[in-house]
């Protein structure tokens, strides 16, 4: 929980949490506009945006997997619609598929496009679309699930990880969902999913106490109308935007967000907007910035364009432990202090040095580093507080402005959001 934030802290918090940070010049402009105006701007319906993958050949045999990843990263770095792009990123870590199993980049890209197009709107609609999404049909085996022998993979994770959470369903529910969702296959040649009637088990199932469940619509209806669902969504939004809140405030925040969700007809954007308001009012704790949001935030703050360099960044991403489109498991990525492994921190330090090395001489962050104005440098990075004594000593011990900037980018304060 934080004390009252001043305008600079509040605007910095908004952009680090709900976007990907800002260039110092843009941050100063945002502070001048004031907190409420900036929140309104951030949440305003986005302008039409170009598709990040437009015109790319995503052939997996010809570097298509890397192309798909880099194009999305480049979009995040250059985004003019940070709220929507951050929401898309968060959804990717929640409703998980991975290119590791979905070998066709185009299928993963189409899934992300779906998150971009409808991620803030109706959650039931999104879950319906996800259930027959081609990448998901491959990733969690819906495409090979038949009435004869249903595959439980998607049915289980829909209940456990996407919509309800452990403890809110039984093994019978898993099987019922699996049976009712049989028959959908991904068309490898077209860009759609196909329902194959003879592979489907249309017998009425009992799912979560609801009778007559037999297809996608009735499964999703039963799931989203389960009493555990609004709170599950509330918890997910709270974790992503407010952090792991302490027990004395968490129940109230979850109640608030869950009732917002229900009142808003199960749309996601109103819940996130409500969470951000609660956060600005103090219901927030520090969050560990995962490698990708951290990297994107660093590059935006340093004004590094990087489209070209990112093309060859894949090993750095892997070493940090986060490759977009390739989450390690259906539960997504680690969170919190789990990111502070030696392996990941060493990789982040190397990446910070690379980003600092790409930063042009006139950039505000590098000017502040050269001047030794560490308070200004912390401000440019939208940090809520000045650097700690340890970080100041470390930065001052570095031999040149670039090395100083590298340490500022990777210091513990800048690893939190």
């Amino acid at each position: 929980m934080v004390d009252a934030m001043d305008t600079r802290q509040a605007v910095g918090w908004l952009h680090r949490r709900a976007g990907f940070g800002l260039h110092p010049d843009d941050l100063d402009a945002a502070v001048a506009r004031g907190t409420d105006a900036e929140l309104g701007r951030l949440l305003a319906p986005p302008e039409a945006r170009p598709d990040p993958w437009d015109g790319l050949d995503l052939d997996p045999m010809d570097g298509g997997r890397i192309e798909a990843i880099v194009a999305w990263l480049a979009r995040m770095i250059t985004t003019t619609t940070p709220y929507a792009d951050r929401r898309t990123w968060n959804l990717h870590g929640w409703l998980v598929s991975s290119m590791d199993k979905v070998n066709q980049p185009i299928m993963m890209v189409d899934q992300i496009r779906m998150f971009m197009a409808q991620g803030g709107a109706s959650m039931p609609e999104l879950l319906r679309a996800l259930t027959t999404d081609r990448a998901m049909l491959v990733y969690l085996d819906g495409r090979t699930s038949t009435g004869e022998a249903p595959n439980e993979n998607y049915g289980r994770e829909l209940l456990e990880l996407f919509a309800l959470g452990v403890g809110n369903y039984t093994e019978d529910d898993v099987l019922a969902a699996a049976r009712a969702l049989t028959g959908w296959v991904a068309n490898p040649r077209g860009d759609e999913s196909i329902f194959v009637r003879f592979r489907h088990d249309d017998a009425p199932q009992v799912l979560l106490g609801v009778n007559g469940v037999h297809d996608v619509d009735t499964v999703i209806d039963a799931v989203v109308n389960d009493p555990a669902h609004p709170r599950f969504v509330a918890r997910r939004v709270a974790t992503d935007y407010l952090g792991d809140l302490p027990d004395d405030v968490l129940p109230d925040v979850l109640d608030d967000l869950a009732s917002t969700y229900t009142a808003a007809g199960m749309e996601l954007d109103p819940v996130i907007a409500r969470a951000l308001r609660l956060g600005l009012d103090g219901a927030t704790v520090p969050i560990v910035a995962a490698p990708i949001p951290w990297l994107v935030t660093c590059m935006r703050a340093c004004g590094v364009p990087f489209q070209r360099a990112l093309r060859s960044a894949r090993n750095a991403l892997r070493e940090m432990g986060q490759i977009p489109l390739v989450p390690p498991s259906v539960a997504g990525w680690p969170s919190g202090a789990e990111w502070f492994t030696s392996s990941s921190l060493v990789a982040r330090t190397n990446v910070a040095a690379a980003v600092a090395g790409e930063t042009a001489a006139g950039q505000p962050v590098l000017v502040a580093a050269a001047d030794g104005d560490l308070d200004r440098l912390a401000e440019h990075l939208a940090l809520p507080e000045p650097f700690s004594a340890g970080t100041r000593a470390a930065i001052r011990s570095a031999p040149d402005p670039t090395a100083r900037l590298a340490l500022a980018l990777v210091c513990p304060e800048n690893l939190l959001s």
């Binding site: 590791d100 750095a316 202090a337 060493v346 090395a403």
Partner: protein, 426 residues
């Protein structure tokens, strides 16, 4: 300027990475020689436990090493250790192993081995391999994440720390930075409340940039913040510096072992078991104070098209294990080492329509070493299934008890009580 690391970042696509890396490392000198490497050879204080187990007297508990190999995703027990009788074949019309392919060994009665595991017969027949068939907790849970948690924390979900993390926390002195190391992803089993393992994902990338001195990075950690997350990051930086300084002593040998493993187009290394186990062997031989290593490899969640995937994973595992023991045998150090495999659950006996099988319950673990009660413990009994799953015959804590005894740990304190209805250490 940070020229070398920048070049490295820009040149990450291919062979240039290794070159750039090596160059940056060659110019680097540690700030200090770590002075803590001697702690591991000290005699453990828990002598009461040590005397209750019979291990070769020439290996003191403080010199013993435990290697835990994690098969993440839920390894299919019945295709790993196919039962020779029962309904196995009837329930798996497409993914049962052909009878002619199953590898038979007299030391695993009633069961065979997956053909990819054929190299393990040598160990089975020389008394260095035990199979724990039907290992699993009572009241199994088919969720990956619940089950992984139960294995990591030895079913004490009120404890945040993993069971080996509790052992780390219980030690009177810090180990060396490489004393507890996770290769691959972070092993929750090794995470303590106070102490944490060093995680090394890619040995080639385990070095700080050339122009940021270890001394500078160490400064980030002092004084320690009161914010728990900031403090965690600070400690991790300081620990990483220590780990890298220790790692430098064995880096050349380790990297040589890992060098010939190609990566795919996303930079994921092929042969994760064989690479990880080769690195583990070098660490054990390298006199860097290593006591516990985990090697974690994902990919066992074979809901579909299981046969080829599973065969490749097990072949890599067998390759890794064979190389690991060959390295230790050649150095005469094998008696110091106990190795166990784990997986969060076995898989459903009946196959699904996707030429795979869904999450199940009891599974199989292997235990390897020169001081074990070898051969078959338990059985994969397909005649007595519960909801289509193998029923547990061996509590995983039986395995954990043996592992903790091996390390000289306080089993009662760490697991709540001893689980020694089967004595696994000879």
């Amino acid at each position: 300027m940070i020229t070398i690391s920048r070049r490295r970042f820009l040149a990450l696509t291919g062979g240039l990475l290794a070159t750039g890396c090596t160059a940056s490392r060659a110019t680097k000198t540690p700030d200090a020689v770590p002075g803590s490497t001697t702690t591991t050879t000290s005699t453990p204080t828990t002598t009461g436990v040590v005397t209750t187990i019979a291990t070769p007297p020439e290996v003191a508990a403080g010199d013993r090493v435990l290697v835990l190999v994690e098969l993440r995703g839920g390894n299919d027990a019945v295709n790993t250790l196919p039962p020779l009788t029962g309904a196995y074949r009837d329930m798996r019309p497409t993914i049962a192993l052909p009878e002619a392919d199953v590898v038979l060994t007299g030391s695993l009665p009633g069961h065979g081995l997956h053909p990819s595991l054929a190299p393990l017969t040598t160990f089975a027949e020389s008394g260095r391999l035990a199979a724990l068939a039907g290992i699993g907790f009572p009241d199994p849970d088919r969720s990956h994440f619940v089950s992984m948690d139960r294995w990591a924390r030895a079913d004490r979900l009120d404890e945040q720390a993993g069971w080996l993390g509790r052992w780390l926390d219980s030690l009177p002195d810090d180990l060396t930075a490489l004393g507890a190391t996770s290769l691959g992803s972070r092993g929750d089993v090794l995470s303590g409340a106070v102490r944490n393992p060093t995680v090394i994902d890619d040995v080639d990338a385990f070095a700080f940039p050339a122009d940021l001195s270890n001394a500078s990075i160490r400064l980030l950690g002092d004084p320690l913040s009161e914010d728990p997350l900031l403090a965690a990051a600070q400690r991790a930086f300081v620990d990483s510096v220590g780990a890298i300084e220790e790692f430098d002593a064995i880096a050349d040998a380790v990297r040589a072992k890992a060098a010939d493993r190609p990566a795919d187009d996303l930079g994921q290394q092929r042969g994760a078991f064989s690479t990880g186990l080769a690195v583990a062997a070098e660490m054990i031989l390298g006199d860097v104070g290593t006591r516990v290593v985990t090697v974690s490899v994902a990919g066992f969640d074979t809901h579909s098209d299981q046969l080829a995937t599973h065969a490749d994973l097990l072949a890599d595992l067998a390759d890794g294990l064979t190389g690991f023991w060959a390295t230790l045998d050649a150095a005469g150090e094998a008696d110091r080492v106990l190795l166990a495999t784990t997986s969060e659950f076995g898989r459903r006996v009946r196959e699904n329509a996707s030429s795979g099988c869904d999450h199940g319950a009891a599974g199989v673990s292997f235990l390897m070493g020169s001081s074990i009660n070898d051969g078959l413990h338990g059985a994969l009994d397909t005649s007595n299934l519960l909801d289509g799953d193998l029923q547990a015959q061996i509590d995983p804590r039986v395995l954990f008890t043996a592992c903790l005894d091996w390390l000289g740990g306080d089993v009662e304190q760490i697991l709540g009580r001893r689980y020694d209805d089967i004595t696994l250490l000879a």
